[in-house]
């Protein structure tokens, strides 16, 4: 299990460095802009004149002059979508990509049971996502002394917790789908599409109240965003974590019963769950 954990981290190191540096730089930039924006008195007035359809996607825009409103509007409101690309791609590829390449065929013949193999890879994914967010957090932390946000390290860290949970949830959705769909790409694509649809619902439900009924049933409804700076909503975190855990358990259950494919086998079929095996 530990070998697979190390192996997964090693494979994801390029993504960790790439995504980490990119999001770190963006955080650094946004943190530095905060003090400059405080002097722009007409800015709030300007924002209020923006079309409602646009403002609907940034629910905290009325609080943009507060640290939590600023961080939410310029960062956390859409980081789910940005880092979500990594999350669903890594989740969908976690096990099935090796199967598609024919590598899993050999690895599964080693004395690492499927559960250990699954857990090793899952742990690697969870740590890789956490490391990307920690690097991203440093982008806010390093200039915090001069940014005028007036937040300490822990306060800056708090909104990254709901972000981590929502990213993991969509990543695990991709992992679960990869156990059912014929390719890692289709699993990542479908989970990515669900994330985008959910993101659009955030804004559209602010314009069309009838969509609220659907929106409240989606994961992003429980996503706290930048407002976590003033206090983490643990109930939502627990709820989203539970959903992610259910998806992990389903994916694990399917993986342990899965027929490992080599090129050309399988397709849009439910996996052989072992119920139809007759013994003599």
């Amino acid at each position: 299990m530990f070998t697979e954990f190390k192996h997964t981290l090693r494979r994801l190191r390029g993504s960790i460095i790439g995504w980490g540096i990119g999001i770190f730089s963006y955080g650094l930039l946004m943190a530095s802009f905060y003090s400059a924006m405080q002097g722009m008195e007409d800015f709030t007035e300007l924002l209020e004149n923006y079309p409602q359809e646009m403002l609907a996607f940034f629910p905290s825009i009325s609080e943009i002059m507060t640290p939590q409103g600023y961080m939410d509007t310029y960062y956390f409101a859409y980081m789910t979508l940005i880092i979500g690309i990594f999350s669903v791609a890594a989740g969908g590829n976690l096990l099935v990509a090796d199967e598609e390449k024919g590598i899993l065929d050999l690895l599964i013949a080693y004395p690492v049971n499927r559960s250990g193999f699954f857990l090793g890879r899952l742990a690697g994914y969870l740590v890789a996502t956490a490391v990307i967010l920690i690097i991203s957090w440093l982008g806010w932390l390093i200039p915090s002394g001069s940014s005028g946000l007036g937040l300490d390290a822990v306060q800056l860290l708090k909104p990254f917790l709901p972000l981590y949970v929502i990213l993991v949830l969509f990543g695990m959705f991709a992992l679960f789908l990869s156990m059912l769909l014929p390719s890692a790409r289709s699993a990542a694509g479908l989970s990515g599409a669900m994330l985008v649809i959910n993101f659009l619902l955030v804004g559209l439900s602010n314009i069309n109240p009838e969509l609220q009924e659907i929106y409240v049933l989606t994961p992003l409804y429980f996503y706290q965003g930048g407002s976590a700076v003033v206090g983490v909503d643990w109930v939502s975190i627990l709820f989203l974590s539970d959903l992610a855990m259910i998806l992990v358990l389903l994916a694990w259950w399917l993986f342990t019963r899965r027929e490992i494919r080599v090129g050309g086998e399988g397709g849009w079929k439910l996996p052989n769950l072992g119920f139809n095996i007759r013994r003599i």
Binding site: T3, D105, P111, G263, N272, R279
Partner: protein
């Protein structure tokens, strides 16, 4: 423990959707045996092996490896087994050394690295080359090393010499015989009659998902069908040649060139040719599919 079969498979059935891949396969392999599993492409060799290792699940049947059920005890089984897949795929960006280190780690670091280096040396493998730069043959060598590095009790190899040059094939045969001498059981699949004949103590022949025969390797020579083209320095009377048992004339060119179809042993035809002024000769083996059709002429493979 010694009485327990290394491999005991009974009435194994496996289908992919509506396509039957295995239709009641029975195999038993004694400990310490080299067992050849011969069959044309698509006959069910790889499917049988993948069922044995719990990568895919049969619809019905009985599999025991050293008495263990692969579904219930995959870890114990995988500790005892070294496996070489038919289509070996490895992480492209790693060097051979790091690839083998990773495999050693997957075995809980219980492998003697000096023995890995010994195998690397025997197979003339370069540890510092990235896998993506390896030829098919060299990749196959990495697969052979990882399968043998822990001196497994059972080696399961799907086409072990695929992609290797003839010299290296001989080296692999020596390594497998050495493994047998040290107490390992070897189960290998092949579609090359000659390879199975050279290496195996016992052979099972599979076709269309059924074991159609268990044979002694010596009997396989009778299945060999070759196409022989002979050129003579001057026109000759080829009638005596076509009267040799197992020889059939396919074509001739004015008595200066003939194409013969030769079944089984070559001894008689070579002796007959010694009386002719031969200038050139070319020998081609038939594919296993063709050899099967010839050998089992009149026997319906469909019905077993």
């Amino acid at each position: 423990m010694d009485n327990i079969k290394a491999i005991d498979i009974r009435q194994l059935h496996k289908s992919y959707g509506r396509v039957p891949a295995l239709q009641g396969v029975d195999i038993d392999v004694d400990q310490g045996e080299i067992f050849g599993f011969l069959g044309p492409n698509g006959a069910g060799k790889t499917t049988t092996i993948r069922c044995m290792l719990d990568m895919i699940r049969p619809q019905s049947g009985f599999i025991r490896i050293f008495g263990f059920d692969p579904r219930l005890d995959p870890n114990i089984l995988h500790t005892k087994v070294g496996y070489l897949p038919g289509e070996l795929n490895l992480e492209a960006n790693r060097k051979v050394r790091n690839t083998l280190r990773y495999f050693v780690e997957l075995r809980g670091n219980s492998v003697d690295w000096d023995y890995v280096l010994y195998l690397v040396d025997r197979l003339e493998l370069d540890l510092e080359t990235p896998v993506k730069n390896l030829s098919k043959g060299n990749k196959q060598k990495v697969g052979l090393v990882q399968a043998m590095m822990h001196k497994p009790e059972l080696l399961i190899m799907d086409e072990p010499t695929s992609g290797l040059d003839p010299l290296m094939q001989q080296e692999v045969y020596r390594l497998l015989r050495q493994a047998k001498t040290e107490g390992s059981t070897v189960f290998f699949s092949s579609h090359v009659i000659n390879e199975v004949e050279t290496l195996a103590d016992r052979v099972a022949i599979i076709s269309k998902g059924k074991i159609i025969e268990e044979a002694e390797p010596g009997e396989l020579i009778n299945m060999e069908v070759r196409r022989m083209q002979v050129r003579f320095r001057e026109p000759v009377d080829i009638k005596p040649l076509t009267q040799v048992a197992g020889v059939e004339l396919q074509s001739q060119n004015g008595g200066k060139q003939v194409t013969l179809r030769v079944e089984g042993d070559l001894d008689a035809v070579i002796k007959a040719l010694a009386r002719y002024p031969v200038s050139d000769m070319d020998l081609q083996r038939q594919s296993l599919e063709q050899a099967f059709l010839t050998y089992y002429q009149g026997v319906s493979l469909e019905g077993g």
